[in-house]
Symmetry: C2
């Protein structure tokens, strides 16, 4: 190894352990608009020179680096902060330098204090450094420092900043065909707004294929009036760009999106890449689909399961660049139509590099667009999709029902919180958990409170508010007479809706319920009572849920001294609208089956 | 962002979380010859394809990648191992691929097991894949798998492999001028070998400057017979290449090195970059030294301290490349003279990039060379020097004397163990800790046993075995009449040497004492009793030290069930040469001041 070829020697300053970062900076960390980015680095140099340091950061779409100071906090740790005030991809790095003037002053001061008298050599150095003819000790010590020499920079790290909706929102999933199409949904917007929902999510709104259409309860052969699954996308009436004529027109869709926005609601649609056998792409782009050596197309399957009503695209086809571009254009078309939230179907069965590209491509010009990953798979893939750009992801929440399961699950989410944001759906058209099937209304209440208070984003799929809990068969998580294969007559009058409205109101009024990571779990001395404290600044909310849907449970809720709460304080139950006095230490709790306390600490 | 420009789409396989690595692969991890490198990676891909994976690794000085399998251990974790069998810088990476044949067979098998009958399409695919005209189900399922498609590779990570001496060795520091020079030391080699020392470390052996020479006890003016500090390197008789004539000749030095090696001992010398005012470099290379604007040279100082007998080199000088090269050539010259271990003086006051370059440069052709960092500074710099290439480092050991201090200190070393190897010196010419000053012989015994059993590398500086414990003044850690400034008459007859010999023998016979990270700390119910278990395979050694140099202490040594030791077992005390029966659970212990048990578990 020869001596380095650079003219100057390599920087002597070391900048290590820069955070926040994920996977050594391979992926961006995530924040939402208004967040602080707390930057840390280990900064040091050989010898005793006085160092200065800064975080340099660049908002999206700009080329100039802004700067804020990093300050030493001991043991070579330096810290600083910048605030991200708009969505898009931000960059930052840590810079450090020797302040030669401050170093000179520091040494001179120590010599003066030690009584050294002949400082003429030192002052001649200082004069050169400060650009003066001559220099006195006093002038030297009072000269302004701030010289920057021997500067070093860290690598550049990225922060993906989303709108607050990417972190905090209440979702409602509905099949528009069961609500009178777009116009039927539009008529209900004031009621959805009143209930406090932020997002209405629609399964695919495109034409549905005829060939091999599935019948009611997933029957292999559809009956004459069966509408088919919305996920079997495409017919002679069009593919991913088209709208199912029974739902309405493009114009009606656009009007719905716009009017929803006036009510503070966004319409999310589904981005599901598979095609029905009747999708126009099969004829227009046969090369995008898997074929056997004999030339026949291969429908989707996961042996022994067969999905004869859909074909997957072949991401490894020769024409992959055109395929990628076409899929991006589908998303951009719907963005043009006003959609800014996409729920993505099964992203874990498509290539991660495709998602990383697609999401960056869309967000470059539309940083307000949010992608929710319907990824129910192993942790490595779920977190990697989040790193690749999905703003939110579905979670294992529906399967975590005991205290121990919830604690372990929340621990995992907190570990992932630099890039993965959960959206806790209490049910989906595919998942009706046994706990709900057997627990009845108390189970539905408990799960609703858990989702709405543990996670800043949560959702319910329609029917939940009516306590729908009959599976297609014993041991299945599929609904009987699933809405996936038939049209229902839905109304917004479920008995659980008042609780939904109360929770959504509490969520909006309490910053403590708008973040994931401000949680402290509390001891209850009863495995059926799950309790936690959420706090954001001076906003404290204590939640206690009786996980038992069958029996009243008694226990305590222990607030440790480390919470910093006063010895005694008033709490206001946001569900029951009553007040009690609580204490540091043990507070007796008794809750009927599935009931909860959501307690605001009164200041 | 346009579609990627590559002909093929980017690899769909993700390879994340590759370990072992330090600072995202910026620096190598460290191992010694014969070690396993346990490789881990998170490997996964969208969809259900069957994956294969391997660790590819490259020994130093070779260009061909070798390969060993990585196997799945659940949840997308893959693991494998390779063994490093020679010193130098190794490289490795994780590779993964889709096995299309195994994927085809997996799907076919599931279809056969589900009773699907028309498999002609599948078999036509399989025939193409396997390169056959036709294919039966049986042929398809029994065809050898092992296809590699869609391969992906991780980044390349490095492992610096040292000789075992970098991890495990007993050091003795001596000033050869106090032992009759090189010939005097040579005469004692059989005795040093008998005591079990692996390394004899000499402070600088070069000519010592006259100008501003320090006198006895660091006096500013030397008396007529004062020899000066060996660290004030260089006189008219030569600089870093030369040998002080009173120690011997180059030829005698080489003979000493060679003869020591025959006794299993290596001679380590000091690499100290500063120069006395009389060093030839000051005249030959005035540009390598700091100068004031008036042209005068600047001696070393850390205000208000002044080191008038030495000048530091200026690593930022214009001629820095020649300076770097000259310093490297000094090291290489001593390597030619047979030296393979260097103790480096104050490396934390020189640039880290210089060390990274120098050590790589020397080890490229001489991978057996070991550098020990005399870095007493903050953790960030100490660990970074280790990352930059130092095989070993001095530690905070001398200042860690209580049970709590030792536990915290060991925890830090274990955290650093991927790249930082401690060498625990019980004393140095600069550090006589108050614990030794006040504790007398029992303190010396306790500290010796701690160093020799906690750390695979440890050292003593001569005088320790004679219990030398008088400081130059109250509150100082400097020795009275320090050997740094005068010649002593040393003899190898200290009363502590039998214990040294016993410990060194135990260390050589017990693999458990040859590693740092095989330690479990044990409860004693007495803060003065410090106990731990070390184990390597079937070799178990229990150590209990009475930290109190003034009083007998009683307590227990608790061996938990988790150790897997039998309910009762015999232990043999390697110090007292007696046997007892010990148990899982509480074992009564009583130790006189500073005394220890070093117990081998008899199998």
């Amino acid at each position: 190894m020869p001596v380095p070829k650079t003219t100057s020697p390599p920087p002597r300053i070391q900048i290590l352990e820069v955070t926040p970062q994920v996977d050594c900076g391979r992926f961006p960390v995530k924040r939402t608009v208004g967040d602080r980015v707390d930057v840390h680095a280990r900064i040091f140099r050989d010898g005793h020179d006085v160092l200065g340091a800064a975080v340099r950061y660049r908002p999206p779409g700009t080329t100039r680096w802004l700067e804020l100071p990093l300050g030493p906090v001991g043991n070579d740790h330096w810290e600083g902060v910048f605030v991200v005030d708009r969505p898009g991809r931000w960059s930052f790095r840590a810079d450090a330098w020797v302040d030669r003037v401050a170093t000179f002053q520091d040494e001179l001061r120590r010599k003066v204090e030690a009584g050294q008298e002949d400082l003429s050599g030192e002052l001649s150095e200082g004069a050169v450094l400060l650009g003066r003819e001559t220099l006195t000790v006093e002038d030297a010590l009072t000269a302004p420092a701030g010289d920057r020499s021997g500067a070093a920079s860290s690598l550049v790290y990225c922060v993906d900043v989303d709108r607050q909706l990417a972190r905090f929102g209440a979702w409602y999933e509905l099949f528009p065909r069961s609500w009178g199409g777009f116009e039927g949904v539009r008529a209900l917007l004031p009621e959805f707004a009143e209930l406090g929902f932020d997002v209405l999510y629609f399964p695919p709104v495109h034409p549905i294929g005829h060939t091999n259409r599935k019948g009611r309860n997933n029957a292999l052969v559809a009956g004459p009036g069966d509408p088919g699954s919305p996920w079997a996308i495409g017919s002679e009436e069009g593919g991913h760009e088209a709208i199912h004529p029974e739902l309405g027109t493009v114009r009606e869709f656009e009007r719905l999106v716009a009017e929803a926005r006036e009510h503070g609601i966004e319409i999310a649609i589904d981005f599901a890449i598979q095609c029905s056998p009747d999708h126009p792409w099969l004829a227009e782009h046969p090369e995008w689909f898997y074929r056997r050596p004999d030339g026949t197309l291969k429908y989707a399957e996961n042996p022994p399961k067969r999905y004869q009503d859909i074909y997957n695209v072949n991401f490894d086809c020769e024409d992959w660049k055109e395929l990628w571009s076409a899929l991006r254009d589908v998303v951009l078309l719907w963005v043009e139509r006003g959609v800014t939230v996409f729920r993505v179907d099964n992203p874990h069965t498509k290539p991660v590099p495709f998602w990383e590209w697609l999401i960056a491509e869309v967000r470059r010009d539309h940083p307000d667009v949010i992608f929710l990953a319907e990824a129910f798979t192993r942790p490595a893939m779920m977190t990697t999709l989040a790193k690749a750009g999905f703003a939110q992801s579905y979670t294992y929440f529906t399967w975590k029902n005991t205290r121990w399961e919830l604690l372990e699950f929340m621990g995992q989410l907190l570990d992932w919180s630099q890039c993965y944001r959960p959206n806790m759906f209490v049910n989906t058209p595919d998942i009706l958990h046994e706990y709900l099937q057997r627990g009845g209304p108390p189970a539905f209440e408990a799960r609703l409170v858990l989702a709405a208070t543990l996670s800043p984003s949560y959702g319910i799929y329609s029917g939940y508010e009516h306590f729908e809990n009959v599976p297609v068969r014993e041991g299945s998580e599929e609904y009987l007479d699933s809405e996936k294969y038939e049209v229902k007559e839905r109304r917004l009058d479920g008995p659980l809706l008042p609780l939904v409205a109360t929770l959504n109101k509490a969520r909006r009024e309490h910053r403590a319920l708008q973040r994931l990571d401000d949680v402290t779990f509390l001891e209850t001395e009863n495995e059926q009572l799950f309790a936690f404290l959420k706090r954001d600044g001076a906003d404290d909310v204590i939640v206690v849920v009786n996980l038992d849907p069958a029996a009243t449970q008694r226990g305590v809720c222990i607030l440790p001294v480390s919470t910093g709460l006063p010895p005694a304080y008033r709490v206001h139950d946001l569900l029951a609208d009553v007040e009690w006095t609580w204490h540091i230490g043990r507070n007796f709790v008794e809750l009927a089956p599935g009931k909860s306390h959501v307690l605001k600490v009164v200041r």
